[in-house]
C-alpha cells in the first residue's frame, strides 16, 4: 500500500487517474486496521487540498468535499432551511467518527446517510474542481465516476424552506442505519418532498407519497395516507436483516414524524 498527499488539484487528478483511491477522513476505508485496502493500492489523501470551505455564496451553500460531518452538524451557516443536512450529519456514527468523516466520502459511498437529505434539498455535486456538476441523484444512482474527485456539494438557498431528517438504528450512537427519511417544504413548490433510504438499495424520492400531499392542505389524514404510501412504494432490495415489513414500517413512521416537524 502506498500513500501520497498531493497539494494541487492537477496532481490529485493525475494520481486518481492512475487508479489511486481518494482518502477523505478514512472512516470508511480504514476500519479493521486497513485490512481490506488492497496491498498495491495508492491512497491519495485529500487533506492538503483547498476543499475545507463551508460558505454561503451566490445563492448557494457550498460545502468543500473535505468538510467534516461534525462541522456541518454544528455550523451556524446551516440555517433551518438545511436542517435536514445538519441532522443527517449529526446522526452519523459517533462524535469521533463525525470529526473525521467528510461529506465527500459520504457522498461517494453508495450507503452514505446524507443522500436522503441531499435529495430533498436539491443538492448538486461538483467534481474535478468544477469540471462538471451533477445532480445528487445522478451520483446516488451511478456512483462517482472512476478517477473522479468530488470537490464540493452545492445546495440552492431558499429561505422559505423547512427540512428535517430522521434516522432509525438499533443503537443511538454508532448505530448502523436501518432506515433514514428526509423531508423538505418550500413556499414555491408547496408540497413536501420526501426521500428515504434503507428499503431500496439506494436513497430514493417517494413520488407516490409526495403526490398525495400535493395540492391539498397537509391534514392529519393526508399525512397518514402519505405515510402509508411511502411505506409501500419503494422496491425492496436489502439483503441483511431487518426484514422488509419492518423497514417499510419505519419509512412510514419516519414520514409521519417529519411531516409533523416540517409543518411546525
Amino acid at each position: 500500500m502506498r500513500y501520497t498527499r498531493p497539494s494541487t488539484l492537477a496532481e490529485t487528478l493525475a494520481d486518481l487517474g492512475q487508479g489511486g483511491m481518494a482518502l477523505g477522513g478514512g472512516t470508511l476505508l480504514l476500519p479493521r486496521d486497513a485490512a481490506d485496502v488492497g496491498a498495491e493500492q495508492l491512497l491519495v489523501d485529500l487533506q492538503a487540498l483547498p476543499l475545507h470551505d463551508l460558505i454561503v455564496d451566490g445563492g448557494f451553500l457550498s460545502i468543500g468535499a473535505m468538510v467534516t460531518l461534525a462541522r456541518i452538524a454544528a455550523s451556524p451557516l446551516i440555517s433551518p432551511a438545511w436542517k435536514a443536512l445538519a441532522q443527517a450529519a449529526h446522526a452519523v456514527g459517533n462524535p469521533n467518527v463525525r470529526r473525521a468523516a467528510t461529506i465527500g466520502g459520504n457522498v461517494a459511498w453508495p450507503g452514505g446517510d446524507l443522500h436522503a437529505a441531499l435529495l430533498v434539498l436539491d443538492a448538486s455535486v461538483v467534481c474535478d474542481g468544477g469540471a462538471c456538476e451533477l445532480p445528487i441523484r445522478n451520483i446516488i444512482e451511478g456512483g462517482v465516476r472512476g478517477g473522479a474527485l468530488v470537490t464540493s456539494i452545492r445546495l440552492p438557498q431558499d429561505d422559505t424552506r423547512h427540512s428535517a431528517y430522521v434516522k432509525f438504528a438499533w443503537r443511538a450512537a454508532s448505530g448502523k442505519t436501518i432506515v433514514a427519511v428526509a423531508a423538505s417544504t418550500t413556499a414555491k413548490n408547496g408540497a413536501p418532498r420526501l426521500a428515504a433510504a434503507g428499503v431500496a438499495a439506494r436513497a430514493m424520492r417517494l413520488p407516490d407519497a409526495e403526490a398525495l400531499l400535493a395540492g391539498g392542505p397537509v391534514t392529519p389524514e393526508a399525512v397518514e395516507d402519505a405515510a402509508r404510501a411511502a411505506g409501500a412504494e419503494l422496491p425492496f432490495e436489502m439483503a441483511k436483516p431487518p426484514g422488509e415489513k419492518y423497514r417499510r414500517r419505519l419509512v412510514a413512521e419516519g414520514v409521519r414524524r417529519l411531516l409533523a416537524a416540517v409543518r411546525s
Partner: protein, 946 residues
C-alpha cells in the same frame, strides 16, 4: 516505509512506518504510549481516542501518515493539565471505572468537552461521550463525574477510593495487550469456515510462501497433546483440529509473520479441503447430552392435582458475547528456557498446565503472567488463546503477539450458553404455587468445556426465588455445532432467572392477580424477608404509573431473583491473603486474585486498613510469582516451593478432582434415567473421598491454593478474600503488638496501632514504627467448606455457597411502529448483606443493569447455521451513553446475612441477572403479550403490536 513526524504530547518525534500503520499503532506499538488502547479497531469503542490538533478522533481508523505534521495529544499527555487532574479526582472519588480499559479514551473525550464549554448538562456530557463504550459501568458515575467537574465543584474526598483507578485513568496501567517485547511476530488463527466437516487436507505451502511468514503450524506440529479448553470434565477439545471440525470457532492452523498484513495474507491463502457433514444447530435435534442434573422434591403429580390452573410455556435466551472492552489477546516470549505468556486469564494455573501439556514441557518451564484485564465477565475462566500463542512462541523461538480482531472475537470465540426451558407451573386460584416441572436445555457448543457447572446452576436455581412444595427439574447441556459456550456473569443464573420469572409472570397475569402479590405469596425462605421487602420497596419507589407520550405504549414490570454465588459444583474454593510490612515501612496486601475490574482488589486494602485501624491504604499486589505458586508456600514462607512439594501438591489436587470428572464423563454416555441414578450413587463416596484427600492436603499445605480453580472470581471474591483479609489483619495486628511489646518492654494491653506503627497508649511518644517492626507478615485463609452438602439427587454441591436476593422494577415506553424502547424509570433493590462500600456496590449494580438491558434489547448475535451474522462492535450493539438506562435508583437492604466480612455479600451479578426478566415483564405489560425469547429486537417487538 514512509517517514512520519508528529508532535506527540509536545515532543517532536519521527518514525518510519508502513502505509497501513494506524495512528493508534504508531502511538501504542512504536512509541509505547499505552494510554492509547484499541478495543475494536472499528471506530466504535473510543478506547483509542486521542486529540489531533485538539479535536478528539479515533486513532484506530486513521493512518499514522494522515497525522503527519500534526499535533497529537494522548491521555498520557493530558493528565498533568489542571482540568484533567481535577476530573480524574472526580472520577476516582465516584469509582467511575471498573476494569478501566476504556478509561483513558473517556478522559480524552471528557477533557475536550470540558475545554469547550462549562458547565455541562448530563445530556451534553452523554453526547460528548457517546463515541466511548464502557462495558463494565453503565456510564452513570462517569457522566456524574464530568458534570461535577464542569461546574467547578471540588472533588469529594477520596480517602478510601480505589488507588488502582488513578493508574487506569491516566493510562499507565498495563493490560495484556500493553506488553510489547521487541522484534515481535504477529500471530493469527485460521478458523474453520464450516461448522461440521471432515478435514481432508490442508495445504500450507501457499501460506508459507508469503514474504514475511515465519511459521504456519497445524495439528501435526504440536509436540505434546492436542487438547485445550477447561479439561475438568472432558478432554474433547482439540487445540488445532486435524480430522474433524465441529464449529466455526474451531481452529485448524496458526500462523506467525513479521507483519500483520503478511499474517493476514497467509491466512487468506490457507484453504483446507473439507467434506461437510450434517450439523446440529438447534436444541430440538441435539441429542448429544454432555451433562445433566436432576432436582426433585415431593411429587409433581400430587402438586399438579392440587392446582387450579397449570400454566405452560417455553422460554429462550439466545447466546451472547461478553464483549470485554480489551480484545482477546496475549503476548508470549522466551526467557532462558522458559516460555512466558502475558495473557488475559482468570485461571493462570489451568493455562499453565494446559500449555505445558501442549508443548510437552514440564510446568516449571511455562510461566503465565496476568496483567490487568480489560473485562472478563466469565470469558477468561476457560483457557482460550494461550495454547495457540505458546505453540507459535515455541516453534519460532521469538516473541509473538496474538490479538483477535473484534469481529473475530464476536464471530469465533466463546459465548454465553443459549438457553431453552419448558415450564409447567401449577397454581391455585389465590396465586399459591403447587408444583413446578422444568425441562431446561443449555447449548454447550461442540465441547463439554465448563458446561456441567452451568447446568448445575440451571438446575439448582430453576425454581428462582420461590418455594414449590413439589418440584421436578431436569437440566441438560447438549452438544451442538454452534460456538463453544462458557460462563458469563452468573454462570447460568441469568438465563434461568429469565425463564422462571417469565412463567411466574404468566401465571399471575393468567389468573389476573397482581404480579407483586403472587411473588410475595410464594417467596422461598430468605433472610429477614429481604425478598418481600425488596418487592415492597420497588413498588413504593415506582409509585404512580408515568403518563405515556402520545403514540407510545407504557408498561411496568418487576423481577425477583435468588441467585447463588460460589462454586456450585462440589469444587474446592479457597483464597489466601497475605498482609505484610517491608523494610521501607510500607504495608502491603497480597493475594492471588487478578484484577478483572470488579472492584474486589480495591476493596481488600480498604478492609485491611479498617481492620488494622490505619488511615493509609496498604498497597495491593498480585505478583505473578504468587500466581505461580499454587501450593501457597511462597506466600507463607517467602521461598519458592521445591519440585517435590510442587509435585505432591499437584497430585493431591488431581486426586480431588478426578473421581468427579470420571463419574461425569461416564455419565455422559448413559441414558438420562441411568445418569441421575449413577450420580446419586457416586455423589456420596466422591464426597467422602474428596474430604479425605482435602484433609491430607490441608495438613501438608495449610495455605494451599487450589490451582484447578479460577482464582476467586466474580462476586464471590469480596466475600472470600474479604474474610481472608480480616483474619490476616487480626493475626498481623497480634504479631505487631507482641513484637512491639518486646521492643518497648510494656505489656501488650497498653499498645495500640496507628498509622505509623504501634504506640504505648499511656505514653504516646513511645512508639515503634512499621519500619522497625519489619519484616512482618500474616496470612489469612478462607475456604468454602467442601463436602457434606452435596445434594444427593444431583451430585452438585448446594452447600456453603451463599445467595443474593433482589427485586428490580421498571417503567418503560415502547413505540408500536418502530419498536423503540425507552426506559422511563428503573429501581434496583437488593440484599447486599452489609454495604461495606456503597459506591462499589452501586457501580456493580448500575453496570450489571446496563449490561442486562443491552443483552435483552440491543445485542443480537444473529447466529444462523453455526455462523455469527453480525460484524464486530459495529453490529454487536453494546449500549452507548445514549442508550444505557439513566437515573437508576439503587437501594441496598442490609440483612447482615452474607458469608463475607460483617455479613457482606457478593452482588456483582445481581444487576444483570435481574434486569432481563424485569424488562421482559414490563414489555409483557405494555404489549399484552409475552416475550418468549430474548434478546428481542425492535423488529420483533413490532410484530407484537401488529
Amino acid at each position: 516505509m514512509n517517514n512520519v513526524r508528529i508532535a506527540w504530547n509536545g515532543h517532536e518525534v519521527e518514525r518510519e512506518v508502513r502505509t497501513e500503520t494506524t495512528l493508534q499503532q504508531l502511538l501504542h506499538d512504536e512509541l509505547d504510549d499505552i494510554s492509547v488502547k484499541a478495543g475494536c479497531g472499528e471506530g466504535v469503542c473510543g478506547s483509542c481516542t486521542v486529540l489531533l490538533d485538539n479535536e478528539p478522533v479515533a486513532s484506530c481508523i486513521r493512518l499514522a501518515l494522515q497525522a503527519a505534521g500534526r499535533a497529537v495529544t494522548t491521555a498520557a499527555g493530558l493528565v498533568e493539565l489542571p482540568d484533567a487532574a481535577a476530573l480524574i479526582e472526580h472520577l476516582v472519588a465516584r469509582e467511575a471505572f471498573q476494569c478501566g480499559y476504556c478509561a483513558p479514551g473517556f478522559l480524552v473525550s471528557a477533557v475536550h468537552a470540558l475545554n469547550k464549554r462549562r458547565p455541562l448538562s448530563a445530556d451534553e456530557v452523554r453526547i460528548a461521550l457517546s463515541g466511548n463504550i464502557c462495558r463494565c459501568t453503565g456510564y452513570q458515575q462517569i457522566v456524574d463525574a464530568v458534570v461535577a467537574a464542569s461546574s467547578g465543584e471540588p472533588p469529594p474526598p477520596a480517602i478510601h477510593a480505589r488507588q488502582d483507578l488513578f493508574a487506569k485513568i491516566r493510562g499507565e496501567a498495563r493490560y495484556a495487550t500493553d506488553v510489547r517485547p521487541a522484534d515481535v511476530l504477529f500471530g493469527r488463527i485460521v478458523w474453520s469456515d464450516q461448522s461440521s466437516a471432515i478435514l481432508c487436507g490442508l495445504d500450507t505451502s501457499a501460506a508459507s510462501a508469503v514474504p514475511g511468514v515465519v511459521a504456519v503450524l497445524t495439528a501435526a506440529d504440536i509436540p505434546g497433546v492436542n487438547i485445550t479448553g477447561m479439561q475438568l470434565f472432558g478432554s474433547d477439545h482439540p487445540l488445532l483440529c486435524d480430522e474433524r471440525v465441529r464449529s466455526t470457532g474451531d481452529a485448524i492452523a496458526v500462523v506467525a509473520a513479521t507483519s500483520a498484513a503478511a499474517a493476514r495474507e497467509a491466512v487468506r491463502r490457507l484453504r483446507p479441503t473439507t467434506a461437510p457433514l450434517a450439523a446440529v444447530h438447534d436444541f430440538d435435534s441435539a441429542g448429544d447430552i454432555c451433562s445433566q442434573f436432576v432436582k426433585v422434591r415431593g411429587d409433581i403429580a400430587i402438586g399438579f392435582a392440587a392446582a387450579d390452573e397449570v400454566i405452560e410455556d417455553t422460554y429462550e435466551m439466545t447466546a451472547g458475547d461478553h464483549a470485554c472492552m480489551e480484545r482477546e489477546a496475549g503476548f508470549g516470549w522466551i526467557e532462558g528456557d522458559t516460555i512466558v505468556l502475558s495473557v488475559t486469564t482468570l485461571t493462570p494455573h489451568l493455562v499453565r498446565g494446559a500449555v505445558a501439556r501442549v508443548l510437552d514441557l514440564p510446568e516449571s518451564r511455562v510461566r503465565v503472567e496476568t496483567p490487568r484485564m480489560g473485562g472478563s465477565f466469565g470469558k477468561y475462566l476457560m483457557p482460550g488463546l494461550e495454547g495457540y500463542l505458546a505453540l507459535l512462541v515455541y516453534a519460532t523461538r521469538r516473541p509473538v503477539r496474538l490479538v483477535l480482531d473484534r469481529d473475530e472475537s464476536i464471530a469465533r470465540s466463546t459465548k454465553r450458553h443459549a438457553f431453552r426451558a419448558r415450564y409447567r407451573l401449577g397454581v391455585k386460584r389465590d396465586g399459591t404455587f403447587t408444583a413446578l416441572d422444568a425441562e431446561i436445555l443449555a447449548d454447550a457448543g461442540p465441547y463439554v468445556g465448563l458446561t456441567p457447572t452451568v447446568v448445575a446452576v440451571l438446575a439448582d436455581e430453576a425454581a428462582g426465588a420461590y418455594d414449590f412444595p413439589h418440584l421436578s427439574v431436569r437440566a441438560r447441556g447438549v452438544l451442538t455445532n454452534n460456538l463453544l459456550a462458557t460462563a458469563m456473569r452468573g454462570f447460568g443464573s441469568q438465563q434461568v432467572a429469565f425463564g422462571i420469572e417469565s412463567i411466574v409472570e404468566k401465571a399471575a397475569r393468567t389468573l389476573e392477580l397482581d404480579p407483586a402479590e403472587v411473588r410475595r405469596r410464594n417467596f422461598c425462605r430468605n433472610p429477614e424477608n429481604a425478598l418481600a421487602e425488596s418487592v415492597d420497596e420497588v413498588v413504593r419507589r415506582l409509585g404512580a404509573r408515568p403518563a405515556a407520550a402520545p403514540g407510545w405504549l407504557t408498561g411496568r414490570g418487576i423481577g425477583s431473583i435468588k441467585a447463588k454465588y460460589g462454586y456450585p459444583y462440589g469444587l474446592v474454593d479457597s483464597t489466601v491473603v497475605r498482609l505484610s510490612v517491608d523494610d521501607s515501612g510500607e504495608l502491603m496486601v497480597e493475594a492471588d486474585i487478578a484484577d478483572s475490574g470488579t472492584g474486589i482488589i480495591a476493596a481488600l486494602p480498604r478492609l485491611a486498613a479498617v481492620h488494622l485501624g490505619v488511615q493509609h491504604l496498604p498497597r495491593y499486589l498480585t505478583s505473578s510469582a504468587l500466581l505461580d505458586d499454587p501450593s501457597g508456600i511462597l506466600l507463607t514462607r517467602g521461598i519458592p516451593p521445591c519440585t517435590t512439594s510442587r509435585w505432591i501438591f499437584r497430585t493431591l489436587e488431581k486426586m480431588v478432582i478426578v473421581p468427579t470428572a470420571l463419574a461425569l464423563s461416564l455419565a455422559a454416555h448413559l441414558r438420562p434415567r441411568m445418569l441421575s441414578f449413577l450420580l446419586r450413587v457416586v455423589a456420596r463416596p466422591t464426597d467422602v473421598y474428596n474430604a479425605f484427600v482435602a484433609t491430607i492436603k490441608e495438613r501438608l499445605f495449610p495455605a494451599g491454593v487450589d490451582s484447578y480453580l479460577p482464582r476467586t472470581s466474580a462476586s464471590r471474591g469480596l466475600a472470600m478474600a474479604g474474610r481472608a483479609v480480616c483474619s490476616a489483619a487480626e493475626r498481623f495486628r497480634a504479631a505487631a503488638i507482641s513484637r512491639a511489646a518486646v521492643a518497648l518492654d510494656v505489656p501488650e494491653s497498653r499498645l495500640a496501632i496507628t498509622n505509623d506503627g504501634v504506640y504505648d497508649t499511656s505514653a504516646p511518644h513511645r512508639r515503634v514504627s512499621w519500619k522497625q517492626l519489619a519484616p512482618l507478615a500474616a496470612i489469612g485463609r478462607v475456604a468454602l467448606r467442601q463436602g457434606g452438602l452435596f445434594e444427593p439427587a444431583t451430585g452438585n454441591q448446594s452447600g456453603p455457597v451463599d445467595h443474593m436476593f433482589a427485586t428490580h422494577g421498571c417503567d418503560l415506553a415502547i413505540h408500536p411502529e418502530t419498536g423503540e424502547v425507552r426506559i422511563l424509570r428503573y429501581v434496583a433493590c437488593q440484599d447486599v448483606g452489609r454495604a461495606l462500600d456503597p459506591e462499589t456496590v452501586r457501580g456493580q449494580i448500575v453496570g450489571g443493569v446496563a449490561m442486562g438491558v443491552s443483552q435483552t434489547l440491543y445485542e443480537h448475535l444473529g447466529q444462523a447455521g453455526g455462523k455469527v451474522n453480525v460484524v464486530g462492535l459495529h453490529e454487536y450493539h453494546v449500549v452507548t451513553t445514549l442508550d444505557a438506562p439513566w437515573g437508576l435508583e439503587v437501594i441496598n437492604l442490609e440483612t447482615g446475612s452474607g458469608f463475607g466480612p460483617s455479613g457482606a455479600k457478593g452482588v456483582g451479578e445481581a444487576g444483570c441477572v435481574a434486569a432481563p426478566p424485569t424488562l421482559a415483564n414490563a414489555l409483557y405489560d405494555a404489549l399484552g403479550r409475552q416475550m418468549t425469547h430474548i434478546s428481542v429486537s425492535p423488529e420483533e417487538l413490532t410484530e407484537f403490536t401488529h
